[in-house]
């Protein structure tokens, strides 16, 4: 058995007559960044949603470290070591920035019901550790000063970084980022992506990255999957993709 971190085998996702994802096979290796690009509506997000269990694929199999995870629910993915961010931000707006990160550590904080009701010594200990860890994560993304602000009240770019920190604090082995730089300006997205790269190299994790910014994508990714209308039109290292006539045609039109 080959040791791909995640492998998707012939994934098909149909919504009625709409073939959102049509027969995609792709894998990610350890320490690898896999980029997914494609025009809007080409099924990138749907593919990630299938991989993280939000949708159950119509056909096909998802393997994580060789284990079949097809049809597993989103809430059970974290335990396996899969974390993700969302295209349209799913942070907890009425919680503080700190609490957002603490929720991210939901599975690592272990308290008995007794601890939770009476806030015993063990509770205080775990809580202190969790807060320290959260603070580290916030420092990493540069949000330490905002720890007590409401997540809904900080700027959009900061919210994006918060969601990233929330995913990181779960210690994932595979991170899926769905358009992490959407809505950010050039400098901000550059910074964020450099941060992602740095984290990836330090923590030795794999990343699946959906991104529109071609320049960043080509710089960061080890391999790139190009999708159009739910199908794979190219898969390879950035240099190959950039010179692939099919991709150029899809992106630059028939001319």
């Amino acid at each position: 058995m080959s040791e791909h971190v995640m492998e998707a085998q012939n994934i098909k996702m149909y919504f009625g007559g709409v073939h959102a994802v049509d027969d995609i096979s792709v894998y990610v290796d350890k320490n690898e960044i896999l980029g997914i690009i494609g025009p809007n509506g080409s099924g990138k997000t749907t593919l990630v949603n299938v991989l993280t269990g939000i949708y159950t694929p119509t056909e096909g199999k998802c393997l994580f470290n060789g284990q079949d995870i097809t049809g597993k629910k989103l809430q059970n993915m974290t335990g396996l070591g899969i974390a993700r961010t969302f295209q349209n931000l799913r942070i907890f707006k009425a919680l503080t920035v700190m609490d957002n990160i603490l929720v991210g550590q939901h599975l690592t904080i272990s308290n008995s019901p007794w601890d939770i009701l009476f806030h015993g010594k063990h509770y205080r200990e775990t809580e202190r550790k969790a807060r320290e860890r959260a603070m580290e994560a916030l420092e990493l993304v540069g949000l330490e000063k905002n720890a007590d602000d409401f997540a809904g009240a900080i700027p959009y770019g900061a919210q994006k970084r918060l969601e990233l920190a929330r995913a990181l604090v779960m210690d994932p082995r595979l991170l899926m980022l769905d358009e992490p730089t959407a809505g950010l300006n050039g400098v901000e997205s550059e910074e964020l992506m450099m941060l992602v790269k740095e984290i990836q190299q330090r923590n030795q994790i794999s990343i699946i990255l959906i991104e529109h910014n071609m320049k960043l994508m080509m710089k960061l990714s080890d391999r790139v999957l190009v999708m159009d209308a739910g199908r794979e039109i190219a898969l390879g290292v950035p240099a190959e993709i950039q010179s692939n006539p099919v991709v150029i045609k899809a992106y630059l039109g028939e001319g």
Partner: protein, 344 residues
């Protein structure tokens, strides 16, 4: 103004808590029996609104049937005592569990539903409960209600005087408040609130959203059951009229005026809604309407309630709009000034 704000900052929190506690301990020795009864009523409503706060405020499921769960607890406790002579402490526990079980059953269909449908289901439960107690004559004696429920007796001590009941309920409320606050500020409480803010986001960090919704519902309704058992033995008489839909709405209002998502808010809200009608009693027939106007005023000028967080109200209500208008006006003025300077 700044100094006043400073007085209420976290630094002085312990002082205020201690002061409040002293006042609460001293209160029964300087107040009349009527005032003591009002305070005791507040305590019972505190339990109800704390429970509802967890469900509606922290879990974000607008529960419009809290009075029915309250009623379930009251009837269970009353019937057990009257028909089978079970000691109070046992009735108290069973009443809580019974209401919690009802809460569990009601919350199951709610998992699939949107907010409004959920409110409707709890409303429906409220009316179904009323229909049952009004008509199941042999057990609940229908609209006549159950009378002569014995006063609370714990370990051989009868809580019959106003002062003793006051202290008993104060104790229970304080304990419940601490426990609820601990739950809210723990892994569980955070998971519940995260589920409210974004269910899918919560699931993506491994929170079992459905489990926490049900859990919040069960805890909240269990508290209502406890309150019911206490109320039945405290007043000694219960009838369906105590648990009508209007009571549910009042409890909901307590939570909203107190500030959704704030445990202390539920206490303030309960106190506000028990004391306010007493204070404006001289207004007689206008009372309900004045209450309505107060509610409207709150929603227009402080939609997050007394202690709620701005973020939860997510308001672009009148205040925000005024602020925005003011900012626009300021900017226009600045621009005009700058333009004026340019000319010069």
């Amino acid at each position: 103004m700044e100094q006043i704000k400073k007085l209420f900052s976290a630094k002085y929190k312990r002082f205020w808590l201690a002061l409040m506690f002293v006042c609460l301990i001293a209160a029964p020795f300087v107040t009349s029996n009527l005032q003591k009864r009002v305070m005791t009523t507040i305590f019972i409503y505190c339990l109800l609104s704390m429970g509802n706060m967890l469900i509606s405020g922290h879990a974000g499921m607008l529960n419009m049937g809290q009075a029915a769960f309250y009623g379930v607890g009251a009837y269970i406790a009353a019937i057990m005592q009257l028909n089978y002579g079970v000691p109070f402490i046992l009735c108290f526990i069973v009443a809580g569990l019974g209401a919690g079980l009802c809460g569990f059953l009601v919350s199951i269909p709610c998992l699939r539903l949107d907010t409004d449908f959920l409110s409707l289901i709890t409303t429906a439960f409220s009316y179904i409960f009323l229909a049952i107690v009004r008509n199941w004559m042999s057990v609940t004696r229908g609209p006549m209600g159950l009378t002569a429920i014995p006063p609370i007796e714990l370990f051989g001590y009868k809580f019959s005087g106003a002062t003793s009941i006051y202290f008993l309920l104060l104790g229970i409320v304080v304990v419940c408040y601490i426990l609820m606050n601990n739950i809210v500020n723990s892994r569980i409480g955070r998971a519940i609130q995260a589920t409210r803010d974004d269910s899918i986001g919560a699931q993506s960090v491994g929170v079992k959203a459905d489990l926490y919704k049900v859990l919040a519902f069960v805890i909240g309704t269990t508290l209502a059951g406890f309150a019911g058992a206490l109320y039945a033995s405290y007043i000694g008489y219960i009838s369906p009229n105590n648990f009508v839909y209007d009571t549910s709405l009042t409890i909901m209002q307590m939570c909203i005026i107190g500030g959704l998502g704030s445990m202390p808010g539920s206490i303030i809200g309960a106190a506000f809604f028990v004391v306010m009608p007493e204070l404006i009693r001289p207004l007689a027939v206008y009372r309900v309407g004045v209450g309505g106007i107060i509610m409207i005023a709150f929603m227009l000028f402080r939609p997050q309630g007394i202690l709620g967080s701005r973020a939860f109200a997510c308001s672009t209500g009148i205040q925000e709009k005024l602020k925005q208008k003011h900012m626009e006006w300021k900017m226009r003025k600045q621009r005009a000034e700058r333009a004026g300077e340019g000319v010069r």
